[in-house]
Symmetry: C2
Subunit: 311 residues, 2 copies
């Protein structure tokens, strides 16, 4: 039986997996990245998870991730609100990035399982995370496990998660559930009350909070931080349900499309920065035609607007 | 219409994706690695593909791969017989490793598609490889595409391969087919006569050669180099079929088990080097019990033996 306060999540609320801006040569743009991080925190995000799936993190080298994180923190972004993704296929690189994140003052790290080999056993995955914790060797380390079976194709079973939390209660403090399956988060919170679980979509933000979870980490928080933050702020008040319905409608309109190109198109459009549409291969950018139709749908059906621009 | 000699493969024959030896801390052992490379070339391999799936390459950092390759070449392993795996999820790291391999004098590189994002379009994958070739910027570059849908979960369509060969005939010279589906290699050689196609198992070595392909790159070449080499040498002679049958029987006995732990167990056993069983998580090592049963099966049913030891 776990105690609620054995796994204190330093992060709660509305978290955006920040998109990665690329220049014309498709190299990351650290200055623009820092500006977008600062803007998202001003816009309503309580925290940021740079280098997630939406960030195209696995299309970046370890050095590119290190350079981007350092640029953001040097530009004044509060590291204590950052939980960068650090999960690579090799424990060596995951340890390198995780140690760097903690040394930079980040609140924690978000960590994929090693995702090359499929059909890995719970025992093998346990050893991977145990070995990661040992290699990082930093008492400050806080890990959010990253469960995203549709893409990683390597799920994290409840048994694995509870074993890791049982053995490393000060380290394994939360999980991002991008399975799309609410029962996964609900069941996990039943086994680990108070665990720092984030659902991967704002559509279940109130449900997650009601179940004792921490919040949501969602691609669409890149473009609707204020709308999702309003749900978080209204939790427990009569307005919560209608705000949830509004945020969910925006999410559904966008998630109807490939999420990463769609989110990047919307940022490019509303921030008047056309280069933000760029993605690294193997992704391909949203077409202008699809983008315009999406903007029209959002503004017509969801009364969506993004008034603030990058400073 | 492709010309047979537009894509001259520098590599032919029997190629082992060399296993990676780990020390007690599960860090790679460059000295042992170089010894194993030299031993495999003496044992019958015509070439080596270090840093393949069997090598647990994606469980290594880019720096670990660089260090291992340099150690082998410095120890006297002929770089012109090496086609190291260089495929990471990021084009930046794949380009870094590919450039390093060519600068080290390797015959070419074996390159996975970016394997994190699933459902990538042919257009996105084309741009990835085109961007890789541009970033490497080395006229000596020779790429063997690595088609392994059961693990990477990102297949390379015939259309993509022929488009790449058409646009980069001097660079894209071959492919390793680890789909397990002979029709893939057979169909590809029908479209690209003389293409440097390697099937991922020696069970189709004669079939590949008869179809105009280049040979096999097979996990079990780590433990049966001589037996597979005998098939290659006998191609076109009356002895070929029975040698093929013998090599195939060994392959099937081993491939009945998880290949990487099984191959490492066999090397540890026959080379009298118990530490070779070690694998990095998320893989788990073969148990002594399963290993002994496998050795017994091989020696009883396949008259298998590995007489040579590491010098």
């Amino acid at each position: 039986m776990q105690h609620p306060h054995q796994h204190p999540s330093p992060l709660k609320g509305v978290v955006a997996p920040v998109i990665t801006p690329f220049d014309e040569a498709l190299d990351p743009d650290p200055v623009r990245f820092a500006e977008i991080c600062a803007w998202l925190l001003r816009s309503g995000c309580t925290g940021l998870a740079p280098f997630g799936t939406t960030s195209e993190a696995n299309s970046l080298s370890t050095q590119e991730r290190i350079d981007l994180l350092e640029a953001a923190v040097k530009a004044g972004v509060d590291a204590s609100r950052l939980v960068p993704g650090t999960g690579c296929c090799s424990v060596t690189e995951t340890a390198l990035l995780s140690r760097h994140a903690m040394e930079t003052g980040c609140a924690g790290v978000m960590t994929l399982p090693p995702f090359y080999y499929k059909g890995a056993s719970d025992e093998g995955l346990y050893r991977y995370f145990a070995s990661l914790i040992e290699r990082v060797g930093d008492a400050r380390l806080k890990i959010y496990l990253y469960h995203i079976p549709p893409i990683a194709q390597v799920p994290l079973s409840h048994e694995l998660v509870t074993r890791l939390v049982g053995d490393f209660p000060e380290v394994v403090v939360g999980l991002k559930d991008s399975s799309g399956d609410w029962h996964y988060t609900e069941g996990l919170l039943g086994k680990l009350p108070g665990f720092g679980a984030f659902f991967g979509s704002e559509e279940r933000l109130l449900a997650t909070l009601n179940a004792g979870g921490a919040g949501c980490i969602s691609a669409t928080a890149n473009v609707n931080a204020a709308g999702i933050r309003a749900v978080w702020d209204a939790w427990g008040t009569p307005r919560a349900d209608s705000l949830q319905a509004s945020a969910s409608a925006v999410r559904r309109a966008i998630a109807h499309h490939p999420l990463i190109p769609a989110v990047k198109y919307l940022l490019a459009h509303y921030l008047r920065d056309p280069g933000l549409v760029r993605v690294r291969p193997p992704l391909t950018a949203f077409s202008e035609e699809k983008g315009r139709a999406l903007v029209e749908t959002l503004e017509r059906d969801c009364a969506f607007g993004l008034e603030e621009a990058l400073s």
